[in-house]
Structure formats: C-alpha cells, structure tokens
Amino acid sequence: MTSMPERASGSRRLTIAEALRAAIAEELRADERVFLIGEDIGVEGGFGGAFGVYSGLAEEFGHDRIIDTPISEKAIAGAAIGAAVLGMRPIADMQYSDFLFECMDEIVNQAAKLRYMSGGTVSVPLVMRAPVGASRRGAQHGQSPESYFIHVPGVKVVAPSDAYHAKGILKSAIRDDNPVIVFEHKLLYGSKGREVAVGLDLTTEVPEGDYTVPIGRAVIKRPGRDVSIVATHVSLYRSLAAAEQLAAEGIDCEVIDPLTLSPLDNETIFASVNRTGRLVIVHEDTLTGGWGAEVAARVADECLLSLEGPIKRVASFDVPAPAAPVLEDAVLPSVERIATAVRALVNS
C-alpha cells in the first residue's frame, strides 16, 4: 500500500537523476508491490542503469526488487505487463527509448489494450522509463520517439524536464493504474546538462519526502503576453533561452512545459493561445507526425479565431540523427531557429 503523503520536511537542490532515484526509492519503500526490472540496473560492480539513476538501489532493496534481465526488451516489457495484471507495480527500464521499438508489440498490442479488450476486468499499472534525445550518439541512440506512443489509446505519455516535476510525476506514474511511459532527456540528467541547457541551472529545489505532480497538467514556466511556446526537454530550455533574447527585443514569450503529452492538458494550452494569439511548438522529435502536429491540430480546432498568425513548429528536420556534432547541431531545433520562428510570427 502506498503511504499517506507526508509533509515535506525540507528540500535540497537535486539533479533529475537524483530526483528520479529518490522517487523510485521512496515508492519501493512505501509499496511492496513496486519493483524495478531491466538491463544492467542492479549488477554488482555495474553502473546502476545506463545513466546511473539506480545507483545504490540494489544494495538497499535486493535483487528480488531490482531485477536484472537478459538483453530482451520483449521479455522485460512482457514481464512488466504480466506482473502488473497480477497486481504488482513494475517499473521497466528501457535504457534508451530507441529500444522501445524492440517491444512495440508488448506496449501497443498488450499493455495498451488488455484493459479494453477484457471489458475492464484487468488493469496494467506499469511504468516504463525511456531516455530520449540526441547526444552525439547517432541514429539509434538519439531518437525522441514520444510521438509514436501518444497515438496509442490506453497508454499515458509523460515527459518531465526538471527535477521537481520528474520526481513528482514519476510517483504519480507509479501509482497510476494504467501503463505510463516516462520519457526523460539523457542530457538533462546531471549537472553536465547545464551546457546543453544553454547555461541554465538544471538542478531544482526538490522536497524531501512524499509529494506528487499530477499527470495531465501542464506548467507555465515563463508567463508572457505575445507568443505561446510549448516545448519539452532540452527544447524547453532552448525556448526559455530564446525567450530571454526576445525579451530584449520587446517580444514577451510565454513558455509552457506540457509535462504530459498524453493526455494533453488542452485547457492550459488553449487558454495561453487565447491570450497571446500566437503559438510555436518546439520538439526534438522529427517534424512530420511529431506531437507538435497534434497540438497544432487541437489549437486550430479550438482557438482559430484567437490566432493572429499561423501555428509554427520548430523540430528536428526529417532525417535520422547524425553522429558528427556539426551535423547533429544542423538538425536539432536551436535557440536561433526558435527565436527566428517567433520573430517571423510576431512581425508577420
């Protein structure tokens, strides 16, 4: 059973990796149904998961709850699904979100549909953690595949970008009775992410102890009057940096972190667009069919008469992620591309 929320006794500045680890450790302590399963997550002398998020957990919770697996994503996903059906609350680690494609059948045909095709008699309360993002690793370790999964009814998709929200929404995901895929950006885990976040401090105050951040609610990171920018992960920080530049030019941007991509917080986004009359969506996933297209379609449906210009999307160009830094930089949505899009929109 989950414990009653306790008042946070204090807080400290944490990186996202530390905040995620705190969330997992607290949920493991509070609820014996929770366990962690994946590759290289609890091996003695190993590295605590591909990005160190699980360091120390095997020592505290043992190998019955931190379960190392063969390199078998279908088995990992299947194990999480089956255990969830029997009432456990598994957290399945996918190392890289690129590997989700190894278990698309388990996610799309099984996890997402078992509740529905059983007529509501079973539920699948599982979490998958899937790191995304271009990081000089090339085409098969640098994708941002969130958009594939927002297309699937029955799955929830969250994408936290800072430590406070990462801890709180991961806890919500673990307690949710549905499959939730948690996409985090590899470059934002630690303090090294500061560089890609264009100098912004990535650590945030994180309360000690229990708190949750609800799934399905967006966060306004920077209020503004002229343009609404919706962005996640590294693109969120680049949008905030662009907003700073544009402020000097007299353009006041509102920057929204949707936090959850499915179900999307329509209300917050619509209200913002109705105020500003302009929308720019920024994501690291490639442009065509990306989640930005869905946001654009919804805003066009609901806010057309408020719009003073076209809805703009700034995304990775439609090519696989290249490895060479100069090529990767040419593909990703940069601060410059974001600022240019906003300027063009405001001045049109």
């Binding site: 299947g78 999480a80 059906v85 029997l86 045909n109 529905y116 095709m117 007529g119 509501g120 549905n178």
Partner: protein, 340 residues
C-alpha cells in the same frame, strides 16, 4: 490408418521418443471420475465449436473464428491439473482453453455474439476470450504474444512466494517469433513457475512447420535454453494430463519452467475461410482416426457417454439462448475501459 499416422509423425519428428511409437489406443484409466470429467470437458469444447460454426454460417455470430476441434485433449488435460488461482495465457484460438479453464459457456457464447454479458463485455470477441476471475488472461491474438507476457505472470507468482503456476498455450508457429525465445530464456534464468504448452498442430495457418524450421521438434528448442522438455501425444488426454501434472509439480517445487510439446491436429481449417488445400485428406483422416474423444471413449460406458452428451448439449442450448437473449452493449460503452 494408424500405420499412416505413424509414418506421418515419424517424418515430422527427430525424436526417438516422439509419440510415433506410443500411438496406440489409450488404456482405460483406473479413475472413472477422472475419465468422465475429461470426457465432459472435451465434449463440451467439441459441441461448443460445432454449434458456433453453424451459428456463424447462419449469420448469428459476427467476425471470424479460429476453431479448436481436434485439439481438445490439450486444453482439457492441461487445465484439469490447474486450480482456480493458477493462470493461463491463450492465443487467437482460445475457445477450448477458455471453456477448460472455467469461463462459462454462457459468458463465452455471449462474447462471440458481441453481447454485454460476454466475458469481455463484448469488447474482446472470439480472439480475446478470458476472465481474470478464473485465471485466464484475455487471450492474446498476436502469435507468441502470450510468451513474453506469461513471464510477468510467473514473476508475480514467484515474488509473492506462493505456489501458483502459469501455463502459456502457443502453437508451433509461435516458436519462430522472438517473443518465444525471449520469454523462454527469461523464465529459465528466473526459474519461473511456468509450463510452456506448445500445441504443435503442424501448420501455422497454411504453412507446414517443416517448411519453416529445420528443427522438427519444438521440444529441441527448449534444450537451447536449459529448459526441460517433453514430447507428448496431444490426442491422448490422459498422457497430456500426466505430463502436465509432472511439469506443474516441478513448478510448485520451485524447479522452474518446463516445455511440453503436444503433437496434435486441428480438424478444421485455420480460420473460417480456409479450405485446407495445403494438406492431404489422407493426413486428415489419419489424424481423425485418433480423435481424442474416440480414444477416451472406451474408459466410459455407453450410457455414461450418452448422459454426458445430453448434459453437454443442454448446456450449449442454454448458452445459445442466454447469448441470444442478452443485450448488446450501448454504443457509449465503446468509450469506457480505455483507461483504468
């Protein structure tokens, strides 16, 4: 006919201990209650499938059907060993598994009719029969889909520390899917309480296993993962039951998974549109001569069999009436149960 079948089976197996040599009419069991119970389950499945086929042709049952006639001994023999708290996973051909595991003919029939009283409230249909209340995951109709998911069911059982067992039904065709290999290896290294129950009916849809695997016996594939395996005459319900009892006991004793390969045959086509041009009538007749119901029949007296037959027919009549008289789901019910 028996000689024909022996020849066919010998050609289809590499194993010296394959059932080719064991194929004889099965002996009457010394437990008449067991024989009656197994006969009843198999006949219930047979009559259910026969009735469903007719109702489908008459246009009462929508969709498609993958029928189980011929393979009844496997579902009946395996599930007879299991308790209510044990689980099974099933396939696109789940009618027999569902009935054997305890889904009522009423709930199964109503589901085929698309009624709100079906075991999945009309949202599953023929290929997704199941009910967690009787320990059956809604059947997974993606070939080998159950082979990865069952590892989680087994894992939850192992972590809970009790002695429950999960059985994964799948066909020989599933053993060419990645999920079969990943699920089996994971179950092996975790020593999960899972019986992998392969129903080798020789054809994946229209494709003969011999055309898609140089290994003739699925049991050989288990050895590659350190999992004990056995080839079992899948037409002999007592042999099925005995082999399953042994594998289940190993699971309950924390010895890990076993793979059982049941050599069997579906008497119908793959699905309702299948005219079976890919197999010979000689082969079909040879297998039909070993109909699992015919083989078990000598274990019961004539009046006993007649009694069971009448009883089963009444139960199917009742199920059809129940399904016909049940309401369809409201269209608005299409929008519930997407999320918990």
């Amino acid at each position: 006919m028996l000689a024909t079948l022996k020849r066919l089976m010998a050609a289809a197996s590499d194993s010296p201990d394959s059932c080719a040599d064991d194929i004889e009419p099965i002996n009457a069991t010394s437990d008449p209650k067991l024989a009656a119970r197994l006969y009843r389950t198999m006949l219930l499945i047979r009559r259910f499938e026969e009735r469903v086929y007719r109702l489908f042709l008459e246009g009462e049952i929508p969709g498609t059907l993958h029928q189980y006639q011929g393979q009844e001994a496997v579902a009946a023999g395996v599930c007879d060993v299991l308790g209510e708290r044990d689980w099974i996973t099933s396939t696109h051909r789940p009618h027999g598994h569902a009935l054997a595991k305890g889904v009522s003919p009423r709930a199964a029939m109503a589901e085929l009719y698309g009624k709100a009283t079906g075991c999945c409230r009309g949202k599953g249909g023929s290929m997704h029969l199941g009910d967690p209340a009787v320990g059956m995951l809604p059947a997974i109709a993606i070939v080998a889909g159950g082979n990865s998911v069952v590892s989680g069911i087994g894992l939850a059982m192992k972590l809970s520390g009790d002695d429950r067992v999960a059985v994964c039904f799948f066909g020989e065709g599933a053993t060419n899917e990645g999920a079969f290999h990943e699920g089996l290896n994971f179950a092996a290294v975790q020593r999960l309480p899972i019986v992998f129950a392969c129903e080798n009916n020789l054809y994946g849809a229209s494709t003969a296993f011999s055309a898609v695997s140089l290994v003739k016996d699925v049991a050989d594939r288990a050895r590659a993962y350190g999992v004990p395996s056995r080839i079992v005459d899948g037409m002999d319900v007592l042999a099925v039951r005995a082999a399953t009892a042994e594998a289940v006991a190993a699971c309950r004793g924390r010895k890990g998974p076993t793979l059982l390969e049941f050599k069997t045959y579906r008497f119908t086509g793959h699905s309702r549109s299948d005219a079976r041009g890919y197999r010979s009538s000689e082969e079909e007749q040879a297998w039909q001569s070993r109909d699992p119901l015919t083989l078990l029949a000598p274990a019961l007296s004539g009046p006993e069999r007649d009694g069971i037959d009448a009883d089963v027919n009444a139960e199917i009549d009742d199920a059809v009436e129940f399904a016909r008289n049940s309401r369809f789901p409201e269209p608005a019910e299409a929008f519930s149960d997407v999320y918990a």
